[in-house]
Symmetry: C2
Subunit: 139 residues, 2 copies
C-alpha cells in the first residue's frame, strides 16, 4: 500500500462521523446501520456503544462476522473493513467508555444491563477510489 493511498484512507476515517456497521441476520441477510464513530485504534479496532437488547447486538452475539463501511461524501470513494465484532459487557470496559448524558440512552446509568460496548477488530481492508481498488491485510 503506498503512502498517498494510506493518507487518503486515514483522512476518510478522520472525516467520517457515522460509520455504517454491517452484520448478518438470522436468515442470512446482510444488515446495516449507521453508528457514531467513537474511540478507535488506527484501522485495527473500533468501539461503539449501544443497547444490549438492540437487533444489531443480538445479531453479533450469534454471529460475529462484521464489516464497517466509511463512505466519502464528494464522490464514490469508500473504505470497507472486514472483521469480527465482540459484544463487551464487562463493568470496567463499560466504565471506560461511559460519557455524561448517556442516561438518555441507558436510564440505569453505567451499570445498566442494556448498555454494552461493541468492539470491532479488522482483518482486511478494501478501499475504492477513482475506479481503483486497493485491498490490504490489517495485522
Amino acid at each position: 500500500m503506498n503512502q498517498k493511498i494510506m493518507t487518503e484512507i486515514n483522512q476518510l476515517v478522520a472525516d467520517t462521523r457515522n460509520i455504517i456497521v454491517c452484520s448478518v441476520d438470522e436468515k442470512g441477510y446482510p444488515n446495516a446501520k449507521a453508528m457514531f464513530k467513537t474511540v478507535h485504534d488506527d484501522l485495527k479496532s473500533f468501539y461503539f456503544s449501544t443497547n444490549t437488547s438492540s437487533m444489531r447486538t443480538q445479531q453479533f452475539m450469534k454471529n460475529s462476522q462484521a464489516s464497517l463501511y466509511f463512505c466519502g461524501n464528494e464522490e464514490i470513494n469508500g473504505l470497507m473493513l472486514i472483521g469480527e465484532m465482540k459484544v463487551l459487557t464487562d463493568s470496567a470496559i463499560k466504565q471506560q467508555f461511559w460519557q455524561e448524558g448517556w442516561k438518555i440512552f441507558y436510564p440505569k446509568g453505567v451499570n445498566d444491563p442494556d448498555y454494552c460496548i461493541l468492539q470491532f477488530t479488522a482483518k482486511q481492508g478494501h478501499y475504492y477510489h477513482a475506479l481503483q481498488k486497493h485491498n490490504f491485510d490489517i495485522e
Copy 2:
C-alpha cells in the same frame, strides 16, 4: 405506518445520492459498497449499473440476499431495505438503462459483457429515527 413517517422515508430516499449496497461474501461476511442511486420504483425496486466482473456482482450471482441502506446526513436516521438482488444481463434491459458517457466504465458500449444491471427487490423496511424504530413489509 403513519403518513408522517412515510413522508420522512420518501424524503430520505429522494435526498440520497449514494446508496450503501450490502451483500454477503463467500466466507459469510457482510460486505458494503456505495453505489449511485439511479432508477427506482417507490421503495419496491432499485436498479444499479455495474461491472459484471466486479466483486459485488459475483457475490450476488452466488447469493441474492441483499440490503440497501440510506443514511441521513444530519443525525442518526437511516432506512434499511432487505430483499433480493438479481443480476440482469439481457440486452434489452441493458439498452434501457444505458447512459451517454458510460464508455468510461464499459469500453465496449451497451453490449459490453462486463456491463450489467443489478435489480434489487425489497421485502421489508426498517427505519430508525429519533431513537424510534419502524418496521414494515413491502409488497
